[in-house]
């Protein structure tokens, strides 16, 4: 998983729980279309974040629009929120000169 996918996913999950297809749309919307995650690559990234303890997941009810399969919902954990805040702070420090923010 590259750094911008990880960063984008964690920041997107701070807005609430979601599932693969929806989180792709959320990332696109939050970044004004600047970051677009390929559908096939989002699932390994989500599973990796789950394995690292930054996300947790559960199965929703089976849905007819998925031919009776459940959606796998993910939500951010406390460790995930901490990591998201740290990432945001690091990114902010990096972008501060470009944003014209005086320390």
């Amino acid at each position: 998983m590259n750094i911008d996918t990880r960063l984008a996913l964690l920041q997107a999950f701070t807005h609430g729980e979601s599932y693969g297809l929806e989180i792709i749309e959320r990332v696109k919307k939050l970044t004004n279309g600047k970051i677009s995650i390929v559908q096939g690559r989002v699932y390994p990234a989500l599973r990796q974040l789950e394995a690292e303890g930054l996300l947790e997941s559960y199965d929703g009810p089976p849905l007819p629009e998925r031919n009776g399969r459940p959606r796998r919902y993910y939500r951010i954990t406390a460790a995930g929120e901490r990591a998201a805040r740290q990432d945001a702070r690091a990114l902010f420090r990096l972008l501060k000169p470009a944003l014209g923010v005086v320390a």
Binding site: G20, G40, E65, R66, N67, R69
Partner: protein, 148 residues
């Protein structure tokens, strides 16, 4: 009303003026005839003249709409038969999560009437579910070996 005499009165304008919900009814009712009869029954008496005037347009539009619906159904059946054959070899986690999302996305696209793009997405679905299944199985085997 002045627009009665409009020579270029379209079916779309008639739907709007008579407050019809053509597409909504089309989904509930089974054929163009039943649809048009039902629409006629719900049109106010004063608007029936307009309806009669636009009937040929409505009839051809309804027929076209139902043909497109039938084509959509056929396409959906074909896509689903290709995909369902594929599900036998996928691990359950990939089947519910990755594959389920692909199916949901494909169903949305089919409902929007997309054609070639749907088949491209089917190919992408097969490709990515294979890649992710290999990654998932390898990762699981690695974790299991570490646990031993």
């Amino acid at each position: 009303m002045a627009w009665h005499a409009e020579p270029t009165l379209t079916a779309g304008v008639v739907y709007e003026i008579a407050g019809l919900r053509f597409r909504f009814w089309g989904r509930i009712l089974g054929s163009p005839d039943v649809l048009l009869e039902d629409v006629y029954g719900q049109v106010k008496a004063m608007d029936r003249e307009i309806f009669a005037h636009a009937y040929p347009l409505l009839a051809s539009d309804a027929a076209e709409f139902f043909e497109e619906q039938q084509r959509c159904h056929k396409r959906k059946r074909r896509v689903q038969s290709v995909l369902e054959a594929w599900t036998a070899v996928l691990p359950p986690r990939i089947l519910n999560e990755d594959f389920g999302d692909w199916v949901e996305d494909l169903n949305r696209r089919l409902a929007r009437g997309q054609k070639w793009l749907v088949w491209l997405r089917v190919c992408a679905c097969v490709f990515w579910t294979v890649v992710n299944s290999i990654g998932y199985i390898a990762g699981k085997a690695r974790r299991d070996r570490r646990a031993i």
